[in-house]
C-alpha cells in the first residue's frame, strides 16, 4: 500500500466523476498541442515550398542586368562535376492571344534541359519547342489559359548600357514574342521556381533558351547560373567556397562584358566594355595589370563654339599620350584640323563646349565649359582613330547622322552636309581632345569614368587578359554566388511563429477548458469530503491530503495530455483548413499542409499535462482546510460568511469596484471623446477596468446577499437569488468566466485596422496619396514633366493636378505581413526624401533620434557613411517581418560586391510602405548604378479624377506592365492580415465562451444534485415541479445574465472609439450572433442540467436523509 496505490485506486473508483475533468484536460491540452502543430505546419509548408521552388539548386549567381556567357555554366559544371544550368531571366508581361487577360511581373526564363534536371520532380517533356512556352499554374490561372493556346510575352531587351546612362538610346527596348503554351508545370516540376522566399507563387513563363536569347538580342548569354549537387551517388552539396573557386578559375573578361582587342595598325590593345562605360573595379584591375596603361573617355557633345561659328554634335575624347601632352592644362583643348577649319580656330582662341549630363529620371541638363585652344593637330595617326569612340548603341551602326539615337534631343536642322560627310568618312573619330582629368570631371558618371583602357605594344602578346582577370574580383562586376538554398531554409525556419500566434488566439479556449476541468475536479473532491475528514482524523496533514488528491489530478493531467496529443492534431487540421479558406487573407495561400514534429507533440503534450496539473493544484489549495469533524459530519460548508466576515469581504470588494470605476472614468475623461481610432488603446484599458469593477461588484452583491439576516418576508425570487450565494466562489467563477469571455470576444474588434477612415489625410497609412502603381519594366522618364508625359503620349490635361513620387526598386523579399517567410534581404526603394518630407506624408511610429516632424524623412540623408546607409520602413515590417527594431542594421551587398549596412533610422505606422525599406535615391544609385528607372509610384490625384488618372496612366504605360490601384485598397490588403487574425481570435474566443456556457451547465447540475433534499422539502411543503425548475433556472440565469452583461457593458466602453469613428465597420452582426449563441447555449445547458438533476422521485431524497 503506497500513496500511488491509493491514488490509482481512487481514480478507478471515481472514474466516472473524473471523466469530465479528463475531457477538460484533454480539450485544454489538445488546443495547446494543436496551436503548436499549426506553427510546425506553417513552417513545414514554407520549407516544402522553399524546397519545391528551388528543387535541387544549392547556389545561384544572379547578375541581373549584367550578362555572362552561357558557356560559363558548362565550365563551372565540369570543374565541380555538378549539374549547372544557365538561365536568361527577364521580367515581362503576358497577355492571352486575344488580350483579354493580362499578367504583369512575369518572370520570363530562357532555359534548357539542364534547368529541368534541377527540378525536384522533372517534367515529362524533354525540351521546350522553339515556338512554345511552358507556364506555371499561377500564370495559367491568371490568364485563364491552358495547353495549346497562344500567349504574347513582352520582355525588355537586356541592355549592357543602362537606360539611365548618358547616350543610352531612347528607342523602344521592348520586344514581343508570340508563343504557344506547350505545358503547364506544377510546383514540384519547378513551376514555382524563384530565388525569393514567398508563399505566394510568382508568374513564371519558361521559353527555350536559344529562342529567348535570340529574340532579346543576347545570343549565348545568360544572367542566372544555377548549381545543383555533385553528380553521382550521394548528391553531395557544393560549397560556396568551391563554387567561387570554380568561378575564378573559369570566368573570362567576356563574362564581365569586357573585351580586350588589338588596336588597328599594331598600336597596342585596348580594354572596352559592352556597357560602354568601364566599371571602376575593371579599370583599376586594368591599371594593376599594366601600370603604363592609359585611360580614355570619349563623349558626345552638342556644340563647340568659337565666337559666332559653331560645330554641332561631335565626339570629344579625354585622354593622355600619345595625343594629349602631359603638360597640357585642364582648361586647354586640342582641335583636329577639320574642326579648326570649321570653326576658323587658331591657338589661343576661346572655345565653348555644350554637352548634356543625365540626372535623375533622365533629366537632361545642358552644361557649358570653356577651353583655350591649345593646339591644332592633323587628322592622321593616333588622332584619326575612329576606335576612340566606344560602341554607343544608338550611334555605332547609324548610317548617317539622322539615324543617331543618343538619348539626347538632336536638332536635325543643325546637322549640315559636311557633318554627315565627316560621319560617313571618319565615323566617330573625335574632333577634339582634352586632358583625361578634365574629361572625367565633366563627363564621369556613376557607370564609370572611362570608355576604354589602352595598352602599349609591349603589353600585346603577354598574358594580359589573365592578368586583368586575376586583378579583378568577379564579385565587383556582379558575379557572385549566393547560398540560395541555405537562405531559403533560413527564411522558412525563421518565419512568423504561427504556433505562438495560435496559442494567443486560443488562450481563452484553453483557459475555459482548464477552468471547466478544475471545476469538475473540485466537484469530485467535494463529493469525498468525508474521505478528507477521515484522512485528517487519521493523522494525515492537510498538505499530505492535498498531495494525495494531486496525485489523482496528476494522472488525469497526464492522461489528458496524451489524449490532447491526438486531439490536438485534429484541432491543427481544422485550423489549417480555416487558414486555407475563410482566414486565407492572413496567409495569402491555400498551400498550407499538415506537418508535426515528434518534438512538438511531446512538448505540447507535456506542457498540456503540466498546465492541467498546475490548474488542479491551484484548485486544491483550499481543500482540507476545514476542521475534520466538520467534514465528517456536515460535508463542505456553504460559503455564506458570517456577518462580521461578510462585512470585511464586502468592504474589500466594494473598494476594488470603486477604485476600478474611478480609474476607468478618469481615463475616459482625460482622453476625451476619441477622434477616429485615436485613444483606442486607452479605451480598451478603461473597458478592462470596468470589467474588473463589474466582477468585483458582483462579488460584493453575492457577499451581502449571502450574509443578510432573517427577513420577515421572503419571496420565491429572493430564494432563487439567495441560493446563488451559497457557493459564492462557484457563482463568481461562472460570472467571471462569462464576463471575461464576452468582453474579450466583443472588445478585440477595437484593434481592427480600418483603411477607409481618413485615408485622404497625409497622416494616414496611405500618406495622403490617392494611387499606388508598380511597373514591371523601369520607367526612366519623369511623369511629372511635359516631356516625360509626351514620351508616352499622355495628354497633360488628363493629369492636371496630378503629381507622382517615383521610387527606384531593387527587387528583394517582401517584408510585409503578407509574406510568412522571414525576409532575409527586403526590397529596397530609392526615393528623394524631400518629396515625402514636403508633403508630411505618413505618421512616424518611432525615430532613432528626435527630429522635427517635417524633417524626419530627411533622416535618410543624414548620418550617411561609406558603409552605412540610413533607411526608413513600416513599423509592422520592421518588427514582425524582419524581427528588427529602429536602430538595427541589415547587411547588403552592392553591385560591385562591396558589403554595406542599412541602418533603420525610423519607422512609419501602418502604411502602404509595408514590405520594403526606403533609402535616399542618391545612395541607391551610388550602390546600384545599373538599376535604371523607376518601378513604383505614389500619386497625388484629386479624388474625383482618380479613376481617370488610373485609366490614362495604365493605358499609356501598358507595355511597361504598370498596375495601378487606389492606395486605400493596398492598405486594406495589409490590414486584412491583422483583421483576419482578430477574426480568428474572436471565433476561437467564442468557442471558449461556448465552453464556458457548458461549464455553467455543469455548475447547475452540481448545485442541484447537492440540494436534492432541500428541493425535495420544497416539493413536500407544496411547491410544484415547475416552480422548482423555475427556481433553478432563475438562480443560474442570473449568473448567466450578470456575466454576459458585465462583459458586454465593459466591451462597449472598450470599443467606443471604433463605434463612433466615421466609416468604421464593426462586425455588429457576428458579435451579436456570438453573444446570442452563448446566451442560448447557457440557457439550454442550464435547462438540460436542471431537468436532469430534478428527474426521478425527488421525495426519496427526504427518506434517505
Amino acid at each position: 500500500m503506497t500513496s500511488w496505490t491509493l491514488a490509482i485506486r481512487s481514480l478507478r473508483f471515481h472514474a466516472r466523476s473524473h471523466l469530465g475533468s479528463l475531457l477538460g484536460a484533454a480539450v485544454g491540452s489538445g488546443v495547446l498541442v494543436g496551436a503548436l502543430v499549426v506553427g510546425d505546419s506553417v513552417r513545414g509548408s514554407l520549407r516544402a515550398m522553399a524546397i519545391s521552388r528551388l528543387g535541387k539548386v544549392e547556389l545561384a549567381m544572379a547578375s541581373n542586368d549584367r550578362l555572362f556567357r552561357q558557356k560559363l555554366a558548362d565550365d563551372i559544371g565540369a570543374s565541380l562535376d555538378a549539374t549547372t544550368a544557365p538561365v536568361l531571366q527577364i521580367l515581362g508581361t503576358a497577355t492571352t492571344g486575344d488580350a483579354d487577360a493580362r499578367a504583369n511581373r512575369v518572370h520570363v526564363m530562357g532555359v534548357d534541359q539542364r534547368f529541368w534536371e534541377l527540378a525536384g520532380d522533372p517534367p515529362s517533356f524533354s525540351a521546350i519547342s522553339p515556338d512554345s512556352v511552358v507556364i506555371n499554374r499561377a500564370l495559367a490561372d491568371q490568364l485563364q489559359t491552358k495547353t495549346g493556346e497562344s500567349l504574347l510575352l513582352r520582355v525588355r531587351k537586356p541592355s549592357a548600357l543602362s537606360q539611365d546612362a548618358p547616350l543610352s538610346p531612347s528607342e523602344d527596348t521592348l520586344v514581343a514574342v508570340r508563343l504557344n503554351v506547350q505545358a503547364v508545370v506544377s510546383d514540384s516540376e519547378f513551376g514555382r521556381f524563384s530565388l525569393h522566399a514567398s508563399q505566394i507563387p510568382p508568374f513564371n513563363a519558361f521559353v527555350a533558351l536559344p529562342t529567348l536569347a535570340s529574340r532579346a538580342g543576347v545570343t549565348n548569354q545568360a544572367n542566372l547560373l544555377l548549381i545543383g549537387p555533385k553528380r553521382g551517388e550521394g548528391n553531395t552539396a557544393i560549397t560556396l567556397d568551391s563554387a567561387t573557386k570554380a568561378l575564378r578559375e573559369n570566368w573570362t573578361l567576356a563574362d564581365a562584358e569586357l573585351k580586350l582587342q588589338e588596336l588597328p595598325n599594331g598600336n597596342g590593345a585596348e580594354l572596352r566594355s559592352d556597357r560602354v562605360f568601364i566599371d571602376s573595379p575593371a579599370s583599376r584591375a586594368a591599371f594593376a595589370a599594366d601600370s603604363e596603361a592609359r585611360g580614355v573617355l570619349t563623349y558626345f557633345v552638342n556644340e563647340m563654339r568659337i565666337g559666332e561659328r559653331t560645330t554641332p554634335y561631335s565626339m570629344v575624347t579625354a585622354m593622355g599620350a600619345p595625343i594629349v601632352p602631359e603638360e597640357m592644362a585642364e582648361n586647354e583643348i586640342l582641335l583636329n584640323q577639320w574642326l579648326a577649319d570649321d570653326l576658323g580656330a587658331k591657338v589661343g582662341d576661346e572655345l565653348t563646349m555644350a554637352y548634356y549630363v543625365v540626372g535623375l529620371a533622365r533629366a537632361l541638363e545642358e552644361r557649358r565649359e570653356t577651353f583655350r585652344v591649345g593646339g591644332i593637330i592633323p587628322m592622321q595617326g593616333a588622332a584619326a582613330d575612329p576606335t576612340l569612340m566606344p560602341d554607343f548603341p544608338g550611334l555605332t551602326d547609324a548610317e548617317n547622322c539622322r539615324d543617331w539615337d543618343t538619348g539626347f534631343p538632336i536638332e536635325l536642322s543643325q546637322i549640315r552636309e559636311k557633318d554627315n560627310a565627316y560621319w560617313e568618312e571618319h565615323r566617330g573619330t573625335p574632333k577634339a581632345f582634352v586632358t583625361l582629368a578634365a574629361g572625367q570631371r565633366l563627363w564621369g558618371n556613376r557607370f564609370g569614368d572611362l570608355t576604354s583602357v589602352r595598352f602599349g605594344d609591349q603589353a600585346v602578346g603577354t598574358d594580359l587578359e589573365r592578368q586583368i582577370r586575376d586583378a579583378l574580383d568577379p564579385a565587383s562586376v556582379g558575379l557572385q554566388f549566393e547560398p540560395v538554398r541555405e537562405s531559403a531554409l533560413a527564411a522558412s525556419s525563421q518565419s512568423q511563429d504561427f504556433g505562438q500566434l495560435f496559442l494567443g488566439f486560443s488562450f481563452f479556449l484553453i483557459i475555459a477548458a482548464l477552468m471547466l476541468m478544475a471545476l469538475l475536479f473540485q466537484f469530485g473532491i467535494e463529493q469525498r469530503t468525508s474521505e478528507v475528514g477521515v484522512l485528517l482524523a487519521l493523522g494525515f496533514k492537510p498538505g499530505k491530503v492535498r498531495l494525495l488528491f494531486l496525485r489523482e489530478g496528476a494522472v488525469i493531467g497526464i492522461m489528458g495530455g496524451l489524449l490532447g496529443v491526438f486531439g490536438g492534431t485534429g484541432y491543427a487540421r481544422a485550423m489549417l483548413y480555416g487558414l486555407s479558406t475563410v482566414w486565407r487573407d492572413a496567409v495569402g495561400t491555400s498551400a498550407l499542409s499538415y506537418h508535426a514534429s515528434p518534438a512538438t507533440l511531446i512538448i505540447g503534450g507535456v506542457s498540456g499535462a503540466g498546465v492541467a496539473i498546475l490548474t488542479i493544484w491551484l484548485a486544491l489549495r483550499k481543500q482540507a482546510r476545514q476542521p475534520a469533524h466538520q467534514l465528517l459530519s456536515e460535508g463542505p460548508a456553504d460559503e455564506s460568511p458570517s456577518l462580521s466576515g461578510a462585512g470585511w469581504t464586502k468592504r474589500r470588494t466594494d473598494l476594488i469596484s470603486r477604485l476600478c470605476l474611478i480609474a476607468a472614468g478618469g481615463l475616459i475623461v482625460l482622453t476625451g471623446m476619441p477622434e477616429g481610432l485615436a485613444g483606442a488603446e486607452t479605451f480598451f484599458f478603461a473597458g478592462t477596468l470596468l470589467l474588473a469593477a463589474g466582477i468585483a461588484q458582483c462579488a460584493s452583491i453575492l457577499t451581502s446577499l449571502g450574509a443578510s439576516g432573517t427577513s420577515a418576508k421572503i419571496a420565491f425570487a429572493h430564494l432563487a437569488v439567495r441560493n446563488a450565494t451559497r457557493k459564492r466562489k462557484r457563482s463568481l467563477a461562472t460570472i467571471g468566466l462569462l464576463a471575461c469571455g464576452s468582453f474579450l470576444v466583443m472588445s478585440i474588434g477595437v484593434f481592427r485596422l480600418e483603411s477607409g477612415a481618413g485615408a485622404a489625410k497625409r497622416s494616414s497609412g496611405t500618406g495622403g496619396f490617392a494611387l499606388i502603381g508598380e511597373a514591371t519594366h523601369p520607367v526612366v522618364q519623369d511623369l511629372n514633366t511635359q516631356s516625360g508625359r509626351d514620351s508616352f503620349g499622355i495628354d497633360s490635361a488628363n493629369l492636371a493636378g496630378v503629381e507622382v513620387v517615383p521610387f527606384r526598386v531593387l527587387d528583394g523579399e517582401d517584408a510585409s505581413c503578407l509574406n510568412l517567410n522571414r525576409a532575409q534581404k527586403p526590397r529596397l526603394l530609392g526615393v528623394q526624401p524631400e518629396l515625402l518630407a514636403k508633403r508630411g506624408a505618413f505618421t512616424f511610429a518611432k525615430v532613432v533620434e528626435e527630429a522635427p516632424l517635417e524633417d524626419r524623412w530627411l533622416l535618410l540623408k543624414s548620418g550617411k557613411q561609406a558603409t552605412v546607409v540610413p533607411a526608413i520602413g513600416d513599423q509592422a515590417s520592421i518588427q514582425w517581418a524582419l524581427g528588427k527594431k529602429v536602430g538595427d542594421t541589415l547587411d547588403y551587398t552592392d553591385e560591385q560586391g562591396n558589403e554595406f549596412k542599412i541602418r533603420i533610422v525610423a519607422s512609419v505606422a501602418n502604411s502602404i510602405l509595408q514590405g520594403s525599406l526606403l533609402i535616399d535615391e542618391s545612395a541607391f544609385i551610388e550602390r546600384y548604378p545599373s538599376t535604371s528607372g523607376y518601378r513604383m509610384f505614389l500619386m497625388d490625384a484629386p479624388g474625383e479624377k482618380m479613376e481617370i488618372v488610373s485609366k490614362v496612366l495604365s493605358r499609356a504605360l501598358r507595355d511597361f506592365g504598370l498596375e495601378i490601384e487606389p492606395a486605400v485598397r493596398r492598405l486594406a490588403a495589409f490590414n486584412a492580415v491583422q483583421n483576419t487574425y482578430l477574426s480568428t481570435f474572436q471565433v476561437l474566443g467564442g468557442l471558449g465562451l461556448l465552453l464556458g456556457s457548458v461549464g455553467l451547465g455543469v455548475v447547475v447540475l452540481r448545485n442541484v444534485l447537492e440540494r436534492r433534499s432541500e428541493l425535495a422539502l420544497l416539493l413536500a411543503v407544496g411547491f410544484g415541479s415547475n416552480a422548482l425548475r423555475w427556481c433553478v433556472l432563475s438562480e443560474h440565469g442570473v449568473l448567466l445574465l450578470l456575466g454576459l452583461g458585465v462583459g458586454a457593458v465593459a466591451a462597449f466602453v472598450a470599443v467606443l472609439p471604433a463605434v463612433i469613428a466615421p466609416g468604421a465597420q464593426l462586425p455588429y452582426v457576428s458579435l451579436t450572433l456570438t453573444l446570442a449563441l452563448v446566451l442560448l447555449s447557457g440557457i439550454v445547458w442550464t435547462w438540460v442540467a436542471a431537468r436532469f438533476a430534478l428527474r426521478g422521485k425527488l421525495l426519496d431524497a427526504l427518506r434517505n436523509e
Binding site: 500500500m1 496505490t5 496533514k541 462580521s644
Partner: protein
C-alpha cells in the same frame, strides 16, 4: 487505582460556538475537567445536543477548545501546531466513528493500513502489515482481507474501522457512537470487541454512546448535561 500519572487530563475545557446573528456565543462545553489513566475505559452519556461528540472531537484534537487545557502523556496539546497535532492523532489516538468512513476504493487490509501512509517513517507499511493481519484475524476478518467495504456487512465494516484505529498502537481509543448504526446483535458483538481490545491492547478507551448497556461495560461513566460533565459511578467494567 493506577498510581502512574494519568494518560489524559482535561482541565476546565470550555467550547463556545459563535452565533451567526452576532449574539452571545452558545457554550457547548462548560469547564469540563476529567482524568483518564492508561488502559482505562470511560463512557460519556448524555441527551442529544449535549456536546458529547464535541467533547470527543476536542479530546481527539479534531477541534480546539475555546478555553482550558488538554494534556496527553504530559504534552499540552494547546501548544502544538496543526502538524504536530496530526502526528498525535496518527500515533497516539485512534478514532472510531459512528459511520465507519472506510474508503470504498480500498480493500480491508488497505483501509487498515491507511494511517501508516500518514507517517514519514521508513518501512512503516512493512512493519505494520503483520500487526494489521493479526488484528484482522483477531476480529475474525482474516478471510476478508482483499474485500472492499461494499462487500461487508455493517458490523464487519465497523470491526475494520476498529482495527484501523488500532494499527499504530495508540494510547487512546475514541469511539463516537460506535454501535449507533448497527443492529442489536452486531452492536453487542462490537461492544464486546471493544472491551476485549481495551484489555488486550492496553489502550485507554473513551466511548460516547446513547446505549446504557454499552456504557455499563465501561469502568467509568460520565454524564454530560448542558455542557457540564458529571461522573456517575465507577464500575468494575465488564467482567470477563
Amino acid at each position: 487505582m493506577s498510581k502512574s500519572p494519568p494518560l489524559l487530563v482535561l482541565e476546565r475545557i470550555t467550547k463556545d460556538f459563535p452565533s451567526l446573528s452576532g449574539a452571545t456565543p452558545v457554550q457547548i462545553l462548560r469547564n469540563v475537567s476529567i482524568k483518564v489513566s492508561d488502559a482505562e475505559s470511560l463512557a460519556i452519556i448524555g441527551p442529544s445536543g449535549s456536546g458529547k461528540s464535541t467533547l470527543l472531537n476536542v479530546i481527539g484534537t479534531l477541534d480546539r477548545p475555546t478555553r482550558g487545557s488538554i494534556t496527553l502523556e504530559g504534552d499540552d496539546l494547546a501548544k502544538l501546531d496543526e502538524d504536530s497535532l496530526a502526528l498525535v492523532r496518527n500515533r497516539k489516538i485512534g478514532f472510531v466513528f459512528q459511520a465507519h468512513h472506510l474508503l470504498p476504493q480500498c480493500s480491508v487490509l488497505e483501509n487498515v493500513l491507511l494511517p501508516t501512509l500518514a507517517s514519514d517513517l521508513p518501512n512503516r507499511i512493512e512493519d505494520s502489515e503483520p500487526r494489521a493481519r493479526r488484528l484482522l484475524d483477531r476480529v475474525g476478518l482474516s478471510a476478508r482481507l482483499s474485500h472492499r467495504p461494499g462487500q461487508l456487512s455493517g458490523g464487519e465494516r465497523q470491526r475494520v474501522a476498529v482495527v484501523r484505529a488500532l494499527i499504530n498502537a495508540p494510547k487512546l481509543l475514541l469511539a463516537d457512537e460506535p454501535t449507533g448504526a448497527l443492529d442489536r446483535a452486531s452492536a453487542e458483538n462490537l461492544a464486546q470487541l471493544l472491551v476485549e481490545l481495551n484489555r488486550e491492547e492496553g489502550v485507554a478507551l473513551i466511548v460516547v454512546t446513547h446505549s446504557m448497556q454499552l456504557a455499563k461495560r465501561m469502568r467509568r461513566i460520565c454524564e454530560l448535561t448542558d455542557g457540564d460533565l458529571r461522573e456517575l459511578e465507577s464500575t468494575e467494567g465488564d467482567k470477563l
